[in-house]
């Protein structure tokens, strides 16, 4: 059964860093079983984005909820967090969909960090058959190569950005290409060619609403897409709230083990603030996720054993990720986590094991033993 993961990155909601200095952080709450509405015990939690880059005790960053579903995460004050804005806590339990909760650590101590109520729902097999009325449209975009990134724009969003969204398409296309082409070259033996450009195609006359993640996956799977990008106008929920433009980006090639990257990355802006700058900024971020999608695709080809060269595809994906990781900054822990988690999966498939943390510990011990020489 496929494990369905819904990850909504909340950094747009929590992204306005409060002035509070990051210090010791406490996150507490209860996991609720959506079916029974009671506390769900035995849910594993893990703080992501810091574990492998900081010398922290594993017991501090992972644990399990008690029999009634309560958890209490206490993270120590760490100097290294000064430049870090976000971490995520992932909750998982067999038979339930995983949930990730993103935390702006500059807002730690904020009421949002305590007495959290997080619902988890049982897994369900997902039907990825597209709606019959959509198939004819999808067929006109179908490519057997299946390497495209598809953009769907709701009619209302087309009106907001103008009748001709070609500049928007260009922004996405060129920024994603620039990101892939500027990947640093990894030295031999992992020498890599530049990742392939990913064509962007705009699907017209199909609409996916803001809450229709399944439909997005169904259309993407049917098209063998690398990723789907959906742009919609979200009406205001109240008079105080402004109409927003929202883009959801979803990687399509996935399996259960890629739950951590199988996410909907959402970006939203009030319509009054929307400008071409936002599209470019978004497109630059999407370059990163598109690279992940390319790597996931290589892993899946390896799993299927489609050709004799599948191991080389896996090694190529590893090299892409090592190169991508090399240009990530200290203030990008979530991206670093995604890259590292995918690298761990690839290393395991290559038989290399999870090398980073073990080797790091060993070398540190030996260096300490030598008096720092």
């Amino acid at each position: 059964m496929r494990l369905v993961m819904l990850v909504v990155l909340l950094w747009l909601l929590t992204g306005n860093a409060l002035s509070q200095t990051p210090g010791a952080i406490q996150i507490s709450g209860q996991i609720i079983d959506q079916n029974t509405e009671g506390g769900l015990g035995g849910v594993a939690w893990r703080v992501e984005g810091v574990a492998w880059r900081l010398d922290v005790d594993e017991a501090l960053i992972s644990g399990t909820t008690d029999a009634n579903g309560f958890f209490n995460i206490k993270l120590p004050k760490l100097e290294d967090w000064q430049n870090q804005k976000h971490v995520a806590v992932r909750f998982s339990k067999k038979g339930f969909e995983q949930v990730s909760w993103a935390l702006n650590i500059h807002a730690a101590g904020h009421p949002d960090c305590s007495r959290l109520k997080i619902s988890m729902r049982p897994n369900r097999a997902e039907d990825l058959t597209p709606d019959p009325e959509a198939i004819e449209t999808l067929d006109s975009y179908y490519s057997s190569e299946g390497r495209s990134l598809y953009l769907l724009l709701s009619p209302s969003l087309v009106r907001v950005i103008g009748n001709d969204p070609s500049l928007l398409l260009e922004a996405f296309q060129y920024n994603i290409t620039d990101h892939l082409q500027a990947l640093p070259v990894v030295p031999p033996p992992q020498d890599i060619t530049v990742p392939p450009d990913v064509p962007l195609e705009w699907i017209q006359n199909l609409e996916i609403g803001p809450q229709e993640a399944r439909k997005m996956r169904a259309y993407g799977s049917y098209l063998k897409a690398l990723a789907m990008l959906n742009g919609v106008v979200v009406p205001s929920a109240s008079e105080k709230q402004e109409v927003c433009v929202r883009f959801d980006y979803q990687l399509i090639p996935f399996q259960e083990e890629f739950g951590f990257v199988r996410e909907i990355v959402s970006y939203a802006w009030p319509v009054s603030q929307l400008s071409f700058d936002h599209y470019e900024e978004l497109a630059q971020r999407l370059g990163f996720y598109t690279l992940l999608a390319l790597c996931v695709r290589e892993v899946l080809a390896f799993d299927r054993g489609q050709s004799a060269g599948e191991r080389s595809g896996l090694e190529r994906a590893r090299a892409y990720l090592v190169a991508e990781r090399s240009r990530l900054g200290p203030d990008e822990p979530l991206k670093t986590h995604y890259v590292q988690a995918l690298l761990d999966i690839i290393s395991a498939k290559l038989g290399a094991g999870k090398g980073f943390s073990l080797l790091q510990q060993q070398l540190q011990q030996q260096l300490r033993g030598s008096g720092g020489k």
């Binding site: 082409q181 070259v185 030295p187 992992q190 094991g353 080797l359 790091q360 030996q366 008096g371």
Partner: protein
């Protein structure tokens, strides 16, 4: 059809080797390669999807600024690609860095600067948004992209190197008020003509001698719009004036640490141009200006690259006055900005060792590089060389298991070795073993050393005729097996062995080693 080019100044460069003697019998030299290529910087017209005309003027302006800045170097040429060549622009638009590299190769240029402009209008006025890209040509740049150290000893010479930076840059978009883009002072470089319109056939307003200072407030194509004393405007052809960076509105004939070009990327280009010419002081200053340009730090990988170039420039600027704390700071900044980049640690290790001849901090950095990527060739090359030089007592290398293991693997890979099988037959399952267990039986008359590099690093010696259990964390390992070097020197038929093997959890493996004098192990 061959593209027409605007060209200024071409000549040859003579570069050499920066030498730092370490001991009487070992010399460490930083090598700076000879420069190849005819052209230094190629500037493509900035793409202008809104057809505002600013792209054409801006690329011309950047060309003239860089001519002023680096055209004074002997042998430096700055070429502006023919703006009328639309096919070329379309190729660049579609092919991006790949197309830029083809251009660089075609013109034998070291680098191509390109970009695009957009104009954003609002009630507060209009702003020009410029995205700039830089594509270096690794062929033309030869080895200047690397920091290279040559180790010359009595027995053998070694060399190791690390990239100073990557070769493709997407710079953060630069945002200017429209009226700021072209406002500057100009100096007529030859007798010049002010005209009523930006066209060679337009009526003459005034004839000017060389050396006259003018205030420009806009550009039209390659023509500057100049404000006249009585308030009217006139136009002067761009090729009749000197265009320099700006300092409080004053014209500078060259950059001096205070003045700025129109865009930060130009300082980056300036530094990359000075560095291979061994004008390290100028290169250092140029990268300093790039780094300290307000707002440039949003692009951490470009900034990290600038710090690395700045660090390399500082090292060579005056090696005799090297200060470890002060002069390695730029490399440390690069590490801080790109903490998951093994090459950031390698290059700091290389610089530290080359300049101080001390191992303090060097092994930590190489260890960090290997923890990030245990296949990193630069770190492994450097460790191997240090281990080899250490054997000659020229270096007080501490006896660390991981250093010995990595060096053992690298030493084997540099010799003729027998390939070990990728799978060991008939392992036995044992749930009591937490990881994997290797029972190594040495049936030879000589001690064996086994070097494992993978999930963890291990180096184990097994005495002649002895057997030993080795516990490893399960996973993939490079394994190099060797005899003492003295034996291998005496008996060339005894060859080391190397292979990549995977050891599964809860499994016990048996490795038996025999000497077969028929020619096989």
């Amino acid at each position: 059809m061959m593209n027409r080019v605007y060209l200024l100044g071409v000549c040859l460069l003579l570069l050499g080797v920066q030498g730092i003697a370490y001991s009487s019998n070992v010399h460490f030299n930083f090598a700076i390669a000879d420069k190849r290529g005819d052209t230094d910087v190629l500037i493509a017209e900035f793409l202008d999807p809104g057809d505002t005309g600013i792209g054409k003027s801006l690329s011309y302006l950047v060309w003239r600024e860089l001519l002023t800045a680096i055209g004074n170097q002997t042998g430096k040429s700055v070429i502006l690609l023919n703006p009328a060549e639309e096919t070329l622009l379309e190729e660049l638009k579609q092919g991006r860095h790949e197309a830029a590299l083809e251009l660089a190769q075609k013109y034998r240029a070291s680098m191509v600067l390109w970009g695009d402009v957009k104009v954003r209008k609002s009630s507060a006025g209009s702003r020009v948004l410029v995205s700039s890209f830089l594509t270096l040509n690794p062929e033309a740049y030869s080895r200047d992209l690397f920091l290279t150290m040559k180790v010359e000893s009595e027995k053998k010479d070694y060399q190791f190197q690390e990239n100073i930076s990557k070769s493709r840059f997407n710079f953060k978009r630069f945002d200017m008020r429209s009226e700021e883009v072209f406002a500057r002072q100009l100096i007529t470089r030859i007798p010049a003509i002010l005209r009523e319109q930006p066209a060679a056939a337009a009526p003459v307003v005034q004839r000017l001698p060389a050396g006259i200072v003018l205030s420009a407030n806009d550009m039209h194509g390659t023509w500057f719009e100049v404000r006249m004393p009585e308030g009217s405007v006139a136009y002067i052809a761009g090729n009749e004036v000197s265009v320099g960076p700006r300092l409080a509105g004053q014209l500078q004939t060259q950059t001096d640490g205070q003045s700025r070009f129109t865009m930060p990327v130009e300082h980056f280009v300036e530094g990359l141009s000075y560095y291979p010419s061994r004008r390290f002081e100028d290169a250092y200053r140029a990268f300093h200006q790039f780094i300290h340009w307000p707002g440039v730090n949003a692009s951490n990988d470009s900034l990290a690259s600038a710090y690395r170039w700045q660090g390399a420039s500082l090292m060579f600027k005056d090696p005799s006055r090297f200060d470890e704390v002060r002069d390695l700071e730029a490399f440390s900044q690069a590490v801080a900005l790109s903490p998951y980049d093994p090459s950031a640690y390698n290059i700091r290790a290389l610089a530290r060792f080359g300049m101080t001849h001390q191992l303090d901090g060097v092994l930590e950095d190489l260890g960090k590089a290997l923890t990030i990527d245990n296949k990193n060739t630069a770190a492994r090359d450097m460790l191997f060389t240090l281990a080899e030089v250490g054997k000659s007592d020229a270096l007080d290398l501490p006896d660390l298991e991981w250093v010995s293991a990595v060096a053992g693997i690298e030493r084997t890979l540099r010799t003729t070795y027998v390939k070990l099988p990728s799978e060991i037959e008939a392992p036995t399952s044992d749930p009591n073993i937490e990881g994997a267990r290797l029972n190594v039986e040495n049936h030879t008359a000589y001690p064996l050393n086994l070097n494992f590099v993978g999930v963890v690093t291990r180096r184990v010696e097994v005495n002649a005729g002895d057997a030993q259990d080795i516990e490893l964390v399960a996973g993939e390992y490079e394994l190099a097996v060797g005899f003492s070097q003295a034996l291998q020197g005496r008996e060339p038929r005894v060859r080391p062995m190397y292979g990549i093997q995977t050891y599964k959890p809860n499994m016990a493996y048996v490795l038996k080693f025999y000497l077969n004098w028929q020619g096989n192990h």
